[in-house]
Symmetry: C2
Subunit: 259 residues, 2 copies
Protein backbone atom coordinates (compact mmCIF):
# COMPACT_ATOMS: atom_id res chain seq x y z
CA UNK A 1 0.00 0.00 0.00
CA UNK A 2 1.40 3.36 -1.01
CA UNK A 3 1.72 6.32 1.28
CA UNK A 4 -1.17 8.10 -0.36
CA UNK A 5 -3.51 5.17 0.18
CA UNK A 6 -2.45 4.98 3.79
CA UNK A 7 -3.23 8.63 4.30
CA UNK A 8 -6.58 8.41 2.58
CA UNK A 9 -7.49 5.27 4.47
CA UNK A 10 -7.16 7.30 7.64
CA UNK A 11 -10.06 9.39 6.43
CA UNK A 12 -12.28 6.36 6.31
CA UNK A 13 -11.84 5.89 10.04
CA UNK A 14 -14.29 8.70 10.50
CA UNK A 15 -17.93 7.72 10.60
CA UNK A 16 -21.10 9.15 11.98
CA UNK A 17 -20.49 7.77 15.45
CA UNK A 18 -16.82 8.80 15.41
CA UNK A 19 -16.85 12.29 14.01
CA UNK A 20 -13.73 13.39 15.86
CA UNK A 21 -10.72 11.21 16.60
CA UNK A 22 -7.57 11.94 18.57
CA UNK A 23 -4.08 11.06 17.39
CA UNK A 24 -3.71 8.06 19.68
CA UNK A 25 -7.08 6.66 18.65
CA UNK A 26 -6.22 7.03 14.99
CA UNK A 27 -2.97 5.21 15.68
CA UNK A 28 -4.79 2.35 17.35
CA UNK A 29 -7.58 2.15 14.82
CA UNK A 30 -5.24 2.19 11.85
CA UNK A 31 -2.58 -0.03 13.34
CA UNK A 32 0.10 2.29 12.02
CA UNK A 33 2.94 3.90 13.87
CA UNK A 34 2.12 7.06 15.75
CA UNK A 35 4.81 9.09 14.04
CA UNK A 36 3.53 7.94 10.68
CA UNK A 37 -0.02 8.80 11.57
CA UNK A 38 1.06 12.19 12.79
CA UNK A 39 2.87 12.98 9.60
CA UNK A 40 0.04 11.78 7.42
CA UNK A 41 -2.55 13.69 9.40
CA UNK A 42 -0.40 16.80 9.21
CA UNK A 43 -0.34 16.55 5.46
CA UNK A 44 -4.07 15.95 5.31
CA UNK A 45 -4.53 18.96 7.55
CA UNK A 46 -2.31 21.15 5.40
CA UNK A 47 -4.55 20.36 2.46
CA UNK A 48 -7.75 21.04 4.38
CA UNK A 49 -9.01 17.46 4.43
CA UNK A 50 -9.00 17.38 8.20
CA UNK A 51 -8.77 20.05 10.84
CA UNK A 52 -7.86 20.08 14.52
CA UNK A 53 -10.14 21.66 16.99
CA UNK A 54 -10.61 22.36 20.67
CA UNK A 55 -8.18 21.89 23.51
CA UNK A 56 -8.00 18.16 23.05
CA UNK A 57 -6.52 18.33 19.60
CA UNK A 58 -8.81 15.79 18.04
CA UNK A 59 -9.03 15.65 14.27
CA UNK A 60 -12.20 15.96 12.27
CA UNK A 61 -12.95 16.19 8.58
CA UNK A 62 -12.08 19.54 7.04
CA UNK A 63 -13.84 21.94 4.72
CA UNK A 64 -11.94 20.90 1.61
CA UNK A 65 -14.18 17.87 1.21
CA UNK A 66 -17.12 20.21 0.72
CA UNK A 67 -15.43 21.90 -2.22
CA UNK A 68 -14.66 18.55 -3.81
CA UNK A 69 -18.19 17.33 -3.23
CA UNK A 70 -19.61 20.45 -4.84
CA UNK A 71 -17.37 19.81 -7.85
CA UNK A 72 -18.32 16.16 -7.97
CA UNK A 73 -21.93 17.25 -7.99
CA UNK A 74 -21.17 19.57 -10.88
CA UNK A 75 -19.74 16.55 -12.71
CA UNK A 76 -22.35 13.96 -11.80
CA UNK A 77 -25.33 15.48 -10.04
CA UNK A 78 -26.08 12.41 -7.97
CA UNK A 79 -26.96 14.25 -4.78
CA UNK A 80 -29.01 17.05 -6.22
CA UNK A 81 -30.92 14.79 -8.59
CA UNK A 82 -31.48 12.33 -5.76
CA UNK A 83 -32.83 14.98 -3.47
CA UNK A 84 -35.19 16.03 -6.18
CA UNK A 85 -36.38 12.48 -6.70
CA UNK A 86 -36.55 11.71 -3.00
CA UNK A 87 -38.80 14.66 -2.44
CA UNK A 88 -41.28 13.37 -5.00
CA UNK A 89 -40.92 9.84 -3.73
CA UNK A 90 -41.69 10.61 -0.13
CA UNK A 91 -44.55 12.80 -1.21
CA UNK A 92 -46.17 10.14 -3.36
CA UNK A 93 -45.70 7.41 -0.78
CA UNK A 94 -46.13 9.43 2.40
CA UNK A 95 -43.09 7.70 3.92
CA UNK A 96 -39.40 8.32 4.48
CA UNK A 97 -37.20 7.92 1.41
CA UNK A 98 -33.43 7.72 1.22
CA UNK A 99 -30.54 7.10 -1.14
CA UNK A 100 -27.35 5.23 -0.40
CA UNK A 101 -24.31 4.23 -2.39
CA UNK A 102 -21.68 1.55 -2.01
CA UNK A 103 -18.09 2.59 -1.49
CA UNK A 104 -15.59 -0.17 -1.00
CA UNK A 105 -17.46 -2.71 1.08
CA UNK A 106 -19.71 -0.23 2.80
CA UNK A 107 -23.19 0.98 2.12
CA UNK A 108 -23.51 4.64 3.04
CA UNK A 109 -26.65 6.72 3.25
CA UNK A 110 -26.05 9.99 1.46
CA UNK A 111 -29.32 11.84 1.66
CA UNK A 112 -32.92 11.41 2.70
CA UNK A 113 -36.33 13.07 2.71
CA UNK A 114 -39.24 12.94 5.12
CA UNK A 115 -42.90 13.15 4.34
CA UNK A 116 -44.94 15.44 6.57
CA UNK A 117 -48.00 13.30 5.93
CA UNK A 118 -47.87 11.20 9.11
CA UNK A 119 -47.02 12.13 12.65
CA UNK A 120 -44.79 9.09 13.04
CA UNK A 121 -42.11 8.35 10.53
CA UNK A 122 -38.91 6.42 10.11
CA UNK A 123 -36.03 8.76 10.92
CA UNK A 124 -32.68 8.67 9.18
CA UNK A 125 -29.24 10.16 9.41
CA UNK A 126 -27.04 10.97 6.48
CA UNK A 127 -23.63 9.31 6.30
CA UNK A 128 -24.95 6.35 8.23
CA UNK A 129 -23.52 2.92 7.43
CA UNK A 130 -26.17 0.37 6.51
CA UNK A 131 -25.82 -3.39 6.53
CA UNK A 132 -26.14 -5.31 3.28
CA UNK A 133 -28.12 -8.21 4.63
CA UNK A 134 -30.39 -6.29 6.97
CA UNK A 135 -31.74 -3.52 4.78
CA UNK A 136 -33.81 -3.29 1.64
CA UNK A 137 -31.13 -1.05 0.16
CA UNK A 138 -28.39 -3.57 0.82
CA UNK A 139 -30.36 -6.43 -0.67
CA UNK A 140 -31.34 -4.35 -3.68
CA UNK A 141 -27.68 -3.63 -4.35
CA UNK A 142 -26.59 -7.22 -3.80
CA UNK A 143 -29.30 -8.56 -6.08
CA UNK A 144 -27.52 -7.02 -9.05
CA UNK A 145 -23.96 -6.97 -7.72
CA UNK A 146 -21.21 -9.27 -8.97
CA UNK A 147 -21.25 -12.77 -7.55
CA UNK A 148 -17.86 -12.38 -5.96
CA UNK A 149 -19.09 -9.35 -4.04
CA UNK A 150 -22.16 -11.18 -2.79
CA UNK A 151 -20.04 -14.15 -1.76
CA UNK A 152 -17.70 -11.84 0.12
CA UNK A 153 -20.57 -10.36 2.09
CA UNK A 154 -22.30 -13.65 2.86
CA UNK A 155 -19.03 -15.32 3.84
CA UNK A 156 -18.44 -12.93 6.71
CA UNK A 157 -20.39 -13.18 9.95
CA UNK A 158 -23.69 -11.34 9.55
CA UNK A 159 -24.62 -8.95 12.33
CA UNK A 160 -27.89 -9.46 14.15
CA UNK A 161 -29.47 -6.02 14.37
CA UNK A 162 -32.93 -7.07 15.55
CA UNK A 163 -34.71 -10.35 16.31
CA UNK A 164 -36.03 -10.18 12.74
CA UNK A 165 -32.63 -9.87 11.07
CA UNK A 166 -32.21 -12.57 8.47
CA UNK A 167 -28.73 -14.09 8.71
CA UNK A 168 -29.22 -17.42 6.96
CA UNK A 169 -27.18 -17.23 3.72
CA UNK A 170 -29.57 -19.62 1.98
CA UNK A 171 -32.62 -17.54 2.77
CA UNK A 172 -30.75 -14.38 1.87
CA UNK A 173 -29.82 -15.85 -1.49
CA UNK A 174 -33.47 -16.70 -2.05
CA UNK A 175 -34.41 -13.12 -1.19
CA UNK A 176 -31.85 -11.88 -3.72
CA UNK A 177 -33.25 -14.17 -6.40
CA UNK A 178 -36.69 -12.77 -5.79
CA UNK A 179 -35.38 -9.22 -5.85
CA UNK A 180 -33.76 -9.91 -9.22
CA UNK A 181 -37.12 -10.89 -10.60
CA UNK A 182 -39.08 -8.02 -9.08
CA UNK A 183 -36.43 -5.35 -9.37
CA UNK A 184 -37.32 -4.50 -5.77
CA UNK A 185 -35.87 -5.82 -2.52
CA UNK A 186 -37.43 -5.58 0.89
CA UNK A 187 -36.49 -6.04 4.50
CA UNK A 188 -39.01 -6.40 7.28
CA UNK A 189 -37.51 -5.19 10.53
CA UNK A 190 -34.06 -6.46 9.58
CA UNK A 191 -32.13 -3.37 10.62
CA UNK A 192 -34.44 -1.42 12.87
CA UNK A 193 -37.34 -3.10 14.60
CA UNK A 194 -40.72 -2.00 13.31
CA UNK A 195 -39.32 -0.67 10.02
CA UNK A 196 -40.33 -2.17 6.72
CA UNK A 197 -38.12 -1.01 3.88
CA UNK A 198 -38.39 -1.42 0.13
CA UNK A 199 -35.51 -0.56 -2.17
CA UNK A 200 -34.51 -0.55 -5.84
CA UNK A 201 -30.95 -0.54 -7.16
CA UNK A 202 -29.51 2.37 -9.10
CA UNK A 203 -26.96 1.77 -11.83
CA UNK A 204 -23.86 3.50 -13.15
CA UNK A 205 -22.68 4.04 -16.71
CA UNK A 206 -21.22 0.52 -16.78
CA UNK A 207 -24.59 -1.11 -15.97
CA UNK A 208 -23.35 -2.13 -12.56
CA UNK A 209 -25.23 -1.14 -9.41
CA UNK A 210 -23.81 1.81 -7.49
CA UNK A 211 -26.35 2.00 -4.69
CA UNK A 212 -30.05 1.99 -3.97
CA UNK A 213 -33.09 4.13 -3.51
CA UNK A 214 -35.33 3.11 -0.62
CA UNK A 215 -38.62 3.85 1.09
CA UNK A 216 -38.92 2.98 4.77
CA UNK A 217 -42.21 2.88 6.62
CA UNK A 218 -43.37 1.81 10.07
CA UNK A 219 -44.53 -1.81 9.84
CA UNK A 220 -47.91 -0.86 11.25
CA UNK A 221 -48.71 1.21 8.17
CA UNK A 222 -47.53 -1.35 5.63
CA UNK A 223 -50.76 -2.44 3.97
CA UNK A 224 -50.99 -4.23 0.64
CA UNK A 225 -52.12 -1.02 -1.03
CA UNK A 226 -49.14 0.89 0.33
CA UNK A 227 -46.73 -1.86 -0.70
CA UNK A 228 -48.07 -1.78 -4.22
CA UNK A 229 -47.77 1.96 -4.41
CA UNK A 230 -44.28 2.00 -2.96
CA UNK A 231 -43.06 -0.61 -5.40
CA UNK A 232 -44.48 1.21 -8.37
CA UNK A 233 -43.18 4.62 -7.33
CA UNK A 234 -39.83 3.29 -6.20
CA UNK A 235 -39.14 1.51 -9.42
CA UNK A 236 -39.99 4.53 -11.50
CA UNK A 237 -37.90 6.76 -9.27
CA UNK A 238 -34.86 4.47 -9.35
CA UNK A 239 -35.03 4.20 -13.12
CA UNK A 240 -35.34 7.96 -13.37
CA UNK A 241 -32.34 8.50 -11.11
CA UNK A 242 -30.22 5.98 -13.00
CA UNK A 243 -30.95 7.71 -16.26
CA UNK A 244 -30.50 11.22 -14.98
CA UNK A 245 -27.00 10.49 -13.71
CA UNK A 246 -26.02 8.93 -17.00
CA UNK A 247 -26.36 5.33 -15.89
CA UNK A 248 -27.86 2.31 -17.59
CA UNK A 249 -29.84 -0.63 -16.23
CA UNK A 250 -28.41 -4.04 -17.15
CA UNK A 251 -30.49 -6.06 -19.63
CA UNK A 252 -31.57 -8.52 -16.94
CA UNK A 253 -33.15 -5.76 -14.86
CA UNK A 254 -36.94 -6.22 -15.02
CA UNK A 255 -37.80 -2.76 -16.23
CA UNK A 256 -41.11 -3.30 -17.86
CA UNK A 257 -42.87 -5.86 -15.73
CA UNK A 258 -45.27 -4.85 -13.02
CA UNK A 259 -43.54 -4.84 -9.66
Amino acid sequence: MGTVSKALSLLSLFDHVRLEIGLSDITRLSGMNKATVFRLMSELQAQGFVEQIGNDRAYRLGPEVLRLAALREATVPLLSVSQDILRQLCESTGETAHMSIVQGHQLNTLTHAYSPQHGTRVTMEDAEVLSFHGTGSGLAFLSFAEDSFVEGILAEPLAVHTPQTQTDPKKLRAALAQARVLGIAESIGGFEADVHSHAAPIFGPDQRPIGALAVAAPMSRMTTQLKTRIRRELKAAALDLTQRIGGFCPPEYPQHQAA
Copy 2:
Protein backbone atom coordinates in the same frame (compact mmCIF):
# COMPACT_ATOMS: atom_id res chain seq x y z
CA MET B 1 6.14 18.63 -0.17
CA GLY B 2 5.25 15.11 0.88
CA THR B 3 3.79 12.51 -1.44
CA VAL B 4 0.39 12.80 0.15
CA SER B 5 0.28 16.54 -0.41
CA LYS B 6 1.32 16.03 -4.00
CA ALA B 7 -1.48 13.57 -4.55
CA LEU B 8 -4.06 15.78 -2.88
CA SER B 9 -2.86 18.81 -4.79
CA LEU B 10 -3.77 16.96 -7.96
CA LEU B 11 -7.36 17.03 -6.80
CA SER B 12 -7.30 20.80 -6.73
CA LEU B 13 -6.59 20.86 -10.45
CA PHE B 14 -10.24 20.09 -10.95
CA ASP B 15 -12.52 23.06 -11.08
CA HIS B 16 -15.91 23.83 -12.49
CA VAL B 17 -14.54 24.53 -15.95
CA ARG B 18 -12.24 21.49 -15.88
CA LEU B 19 -14.39 18.73 -14.50
CA GLU B 20 -12.54 15.96 -16.30
CA ILE B 21 -8.81 15.88 -16.99
CA GLY B 22 -6.70 13.37 -18.90
CA LEU B 23 -3.41 11.98 -17.65
CA SER B 24 -1.26 14.12 -19.92
CA ASP B 25 -3.11 17.26 -18.97
CA ILE B 26 -2.71 16.50 -15.30
CA THR B 27 0.97 15.97 -15.91
CA ARG B 28 1.29 19.33 -17.64
CA LEU B 29 -0.86 21.22 -15.14
CA SER B 30 0.93 19.80 -12.14
CA GLY B 31 4.42 19.96 -13.58
CA MET B 32 5.15 16.50 -12.21
CA ASN B 33 6.48 13.47 -14.00
CA LYS B 34 3.92 11.43 -15.89
CA ALA B 35 4.81 8.22 -14.12
CA THR B 36 4.45 9.95 -10.79
CA VAL B 37 1.10 11.40 -11.74
CA PHE B 38 -0.10 8.04 -12.96
CA ARG B 39 0.85 6.35 -9.73
CA LEU B 40 -0.72 9.05 -7.61
CA MET B 41 -3.92 9.07 -9.63
CA SER B 42 -4.09 5.28 -9.41
CA GLU B 43 -3.96 5.50 -5.66
CA LEU B 44 -6.58 8.22 -5.58
CA GLN B 45 -8.70 6.06 -7.83
CA ALA B 46 -8.30 2.99 -5.65
CA GLN B 47 -9.64 5.01 -2.75
CA GLY B 48 -12.58 6.37 -4.73
CA PHE B 49 -11.42 9.97 -4.79
CA VAL B 50 -11.31 9.98 -8.57
CA GLU B 51 -12.69 7.70 -11.22
CA GLN B 52 -11.95 7.12 -14.88
CA ILE B 53 -14.68 7.19 -17.38
CA GLY B 54 -15.43 6.89 -21.06
CA ASN B 55 -13.18 5.80 -23.89
CA ASP B 56 -10.80 8.66 -23.38
CA ARG B 57 -9.74 7.66 -19.94
CA ALA B 58 -10.04 11.08 -18.40
CA TYR B 59 -10.18 11.34 -14.65
CA ARG B 60 -12.94 13.03 -12.69
CA LEU B 61 -13.74 13.33 -9.01
CA GLY B 62 -15.10 10.15 -7.47
CA PRO B 63 -17.99 9.30 -5.18
CA GLU B 64 -15.91 9.02 -2.04
CA VAL B 65 -15.86 12.78 -1.67
CA LEU B 66 -19.63 12.69 -1.24
CA ARG B 67 -19.36 10.34 1.71
CA LEU B 68 -16.76 12.55 3.35
CA ALA B 69 -18.82 15.65 2.69
CA ALA B 70 -21.87 14.02 4.28
CA LEU B 71 -19.76 13.20 7.32
CA ARG B 72 -18.30 16.67 7.45
CA GLU B 73 -21.85 17.97 7.41
CA ALA B 74 -22.70 15.66 10.29
CA THR B 75 -19.77 17.23 12.17
CA VAL B 76 -20.27 20.86 11.24
CA PRO B 77 -23.55 21.42 9.41
CA LEU B 78 -22.23 24.31 7.35
CA LEU B 79 -23.97 23.38 4.13
CA SER B 80 -27.34 22.38 5.50
CA VAL B 81 -27.55 25.33 7.85
CA SER B 82 -26.43 27.63 5.05
CA GLN B 83 -29.05 26.34 2.69
CA ASP B 84 -31.64 26.92 5.35
CA ILE B 85 -30.45 30.47 5.91
CA LEU B 86 -30.02 31.21 2.21
CA ARG B 87 -33.59 30.22 1.56
CA GLN B 88 -34.84 32.74 4.09
CA LEU B 89 -32.38 35.34 2.90
CA CYS B 90 -33.36 35.19 -0.74
CA GLU B 91 -36.99 35.18 0.25
CA SER B 92 -36.70 38.26 2.42
CA THR B 93 -34.61 40.17 -0.11
CA GLY B 94 -36.10 38.82 -3.32
CA GLU B 95 -32.61 38.38 -4.74
CA THR B 96 -30.04 35.63 -5.26
CA ALA B 97 -28.12 34.62 -2.13
CA HIS B 98 -25.00 32.48 -1.88
CA MET B 99 -22.40 31.23 0.55
CA SER B 100 -18.70 30.79 -0.11
CA ILE B 101 -15.73 29.73 1.97
CA VAL B 102 -12.02 30.26 1.68
CA GLN B 103 -9.78 27.26 1.18
CA GLY B 104 -6.12 27.94 0.78
CA HIS B 105 -5.99 31.10 -1.29
CA GLN B 106 -9.24 30.49 -3.09
CA LEU B 107 -12.76 31.64 -2.48
CA ASN B 108 -15.22 28.93 -3.47
CA THR B 109 -18.96 29.18 -3.77
CA LEU B 110 -20.52 26.21 -2.03
CA THR B 111 -24.24 26.73 -2.31
CA HIS B 112 -26.81 29.28 -3.42
CA ALA B 113 -30.52 30.01 -3.52
CA TYR B 114 -32.67 31.89 -5.99
CA SER B 115 -35.74 33.95 -5.27
CA PRO B 116 -38.69 33.35 -7.57
CA GLN B 117 -39.83 36.92 -6.96
CA HIS B 118 -38.37 38.49 -10.09
CA GLY B 119 -38.15 37.22 -13.62
CA THR B 120 -34.55 38.34 -13.93
CA ARG B 121 -32.02 37.29 -11.34
CA VAL B 122 -28.34 36.88 -10.83
CA THR B 123 -27.45 33.29 -11.65
CA MET B 124 -24.78 31.30 -9.85
CA GLU B 125 -22.97 28.04 -10.03
CA ASP B 126 -21.78 26.05 -7.07
CA ALA B 127 -18.06 25.30 -6.79
CA GLU B 128 -17.26 28.45 -8.70
CA VAL B 129 -14.07 30.31 -7.82
CA LEU B 130 -14.64 33.95 -6.92
CA SER B 131 -12.08 36.71 -6.84
CA PHE B 132 -11.25 38.41 -3.56
CA HIS B 133 -11.02 41.94 -4.89
CA GLY B 134 -13.93 41.79 -7.31
CA THR B 135 -16.74 40.42 -5.19
CA GLY B 136 -18.62 41.47 -2.08
CA SER B 137 -17.88 38.06 -0.60
CA GLY B 138 -14.16 38.40 -1.18
CA LEU B 139 -14.02 41.87 0.33
CA ALA B 140 -16.15 40.79 3.29
CA PHE B 141 -13.70 38.01 4.00
CA LEU B 142 -10.64 40.19 3.55
CA SER B 143 -12.04 42.89 5.80
CA PHE B 144 -11.63 40.59 8.78
CA ALA B 145 -8.80 38.38 7.52
CA GLU B 146 -5.26 38.51 8.84
CA ASP B 147 -3.13 41.33 7.51
CA SER B 148 -0.63 38.97 5.95
CA PHE B 149 -3.40 37.32 3.96
CA VAL B 150 -4.69 40.65 2.69
CA GLU B 151 -1.18 41.72 1.76
CA GLY B 152 -0.67 38.48 -0.12
CA ILE B 153 -3.80 39.04 -2.18
CA LEU B 154 -3.13 42.70 -2.91
CA ALA B 155 0.50 42.05 -3.79
CA GLU B 156 -0.41 39.80 -6.69
CA PRO B 157 -1.72 41.20 -9.97
CA LEU B 158 -5.46 41.75 -9.66
CA ALA B 159 -7.59 40.42 -12.51
CA VAL B 160 -9.82 42.82 -14.38
CA HIS B 161 -13.17 41.04 -14.69
CA THR B 162 -15.24 43.99 -15.91
CA PRO B 163 -14.63 47.67 -16.65
CA GLN B 164 -15.88 48.32 -13.10
CA THR B 165 -13.41 46.01 -11.38
CA GLN B 166 -11.50 47.89 -8.73
CA THR B 167 -7.82 46.98 -8.86
CA ASP B 168 -6.24 49.92 -7.07
CA PRO B 169 -4.81 48.53 -3.79
CA LYS B 170 -5.31 51.87 -2.07
CA LYS B 171 -8.97 52.07 -2.93
CA LEU B 172 -9.44 48.43 -2.07
CA ARG B 173 -7.89 49.02 1.33
CA ALA B 174 -10.29 51.90 1.84
CA ALA B 175 -13.19 49.65 0.91
CA LEU B 176 -11.97 47.08 3.45
CA ALA B 177 -11.75 49.74 6.15
CA GLN B 178 -15.32 50.74 5.45
CA ALA B 179 -16.44 47.11 5.48
CA ARG B 180 -14.82 46.67 8.87
CA VAL B 181 -16.94 49.50 10.22
CA LEU B 182 -20.18 48.39 8.62
CA GLY B 183 -19.72 44.65 8.89
CA ILE B 184 -20.85 44.54 5.26
CA ALA B 185 -18.82 44.73 2.07
CA GLU B 186 -20.11 45.48 -1.36
CA SER B 187 -18.98 45.29 -4.94
CA ILE B 188 -20.69 47.12 -7.77
CA GLY B 189 -20.15 45.24 -10.99
CA GLY B 190 -16.67 44.16 -9.97
CA PHE B 191 -16.98 40.54 -11.03
CA GLU B 192 -19.93 40.40 -13.38
CA ALA B 193 -21.17 43.50 -15.12
CA ASP B 194 -24.56 44.67 -13.91
CA VAL B 195 -24.35 42.75 -10.64
CA HIS B 196 -24.34 44.56 -7.32
CA SER B 197 -23.36 42.28 -4.45
CA HIS B 198 -23.42 42.77 -0.70
CA ALA B 199 -21.71 40.33 1.64
CA ALA B 200 -21.03 39.70 5.32
CA PRO B 201 -18.24 37.53 6.70
CA ILE B 202 -18.92 34.33 8.61
CA PHE B 203 -16.60 33.26 11.39
CA GLY B 204 -15.23 29.99 12.74
CA PRO B 205 -14.70 28.84 16.33
CA ASP B 206 -11.41 30.75 16.47
CA GLN B 207 -13.08 34.08 15.63
CA ARG B 208 -11.37 34.15 12.27
CA PRO B 209 -13.39 34.51 9.07
CA ILE B 210 -14.01 31.33 7.12
CA GLY B 211 -16.07 32.72 4.26
CA ALA B 212 -18.97 34.97 3.48
CA LEU B 213 -22.68 35.13 2.92
CA ALA B 214 -23.77 37.31 0.02
CA VAL B 215 -26.78 38.72 -1.76
CA ALA B 216 -26.39 39.59 -5.42
CA ALA B 217 -28.89 41.69 -7.35
CA PRO B 218 -29.07 43.24 -10.79
CA MET B 219 -27.80 46.82 -10.53
CA SER B 220 -31.02 48.10 -12.01
CA ARG B 221 -33.00 46.95 -8.97
CA MET B 222 -30.59 48.26 -6.37
CA THR B 223 -32.53 51.08 -4.75
CA THR B 224 -31.71 52.63 -1.40
CA GLN B 225 -34.58 50.76 0.19
CA LEU B 226 -33.37 47.44 -1.14
CA LYS B 227 -29.80 48.18 -0.02
CA THR B 228 -31.01 48.91 3.48
CA ARG B 229 -33.06 45.76 3.61
CA ILE B 230 -30.26 43.61 2.22
CA ARG B 231 -27.76 44.93 4.73
CA ARG B 232 -30.07 44.34 7.63
CA GLU B 233 -31.10 40.85 6.56
CA LEU B 234 -27.61 39.87 5.51
CA LYS B 235 -26.05 40.87 8.78
CA ALA B 236 -28.63 38.97 10.78
CA ALA B 237 -28.26 35.94 8.54
CA ALA B 238 -24.46 35.90 8.74
CA LEU B 239 -24.52 36.22 12.49
CA ASP B 240 -27.06 33.42 12.69
CA LEU B 241 -24.95 31.18 10.46
CA THR B 242 -21.79 31.89 12.43
CA GLN B 243 -23.50 30.95 15.64
CA ARG B 244 -25.24 27.88 14.30
CA ILE B 245 -21.98 26.35 13.12
CA GLY B 246 -20.34 26.99 16.46
CA GLY B 247 -18.40 30.05 15.41
CA PHE B 248 -17.79 33.37 17.13
CA CYS B 249 -17.54 36.88 15.78
CA PRO B 250 -14.36 38.72 16.78
CA PRO B 251 -14.85 41.57 19.27
CA GLU B 252 -14.15 44.19 16.62
CA TYR B 253 -17.00 42.97 14.45
CA PRO B 254 -19.74 45.64 14.55
CA GLN B 255 -22.56 43.44 15.68
CA HIS B 256 -24.88 45.89 17.28
CA GLN B 257 -24.67 48.98 15.15
CA ALA B 258 -27.15 49.61 12.40
CA ALA B 259 -25.69 48.56 9.08
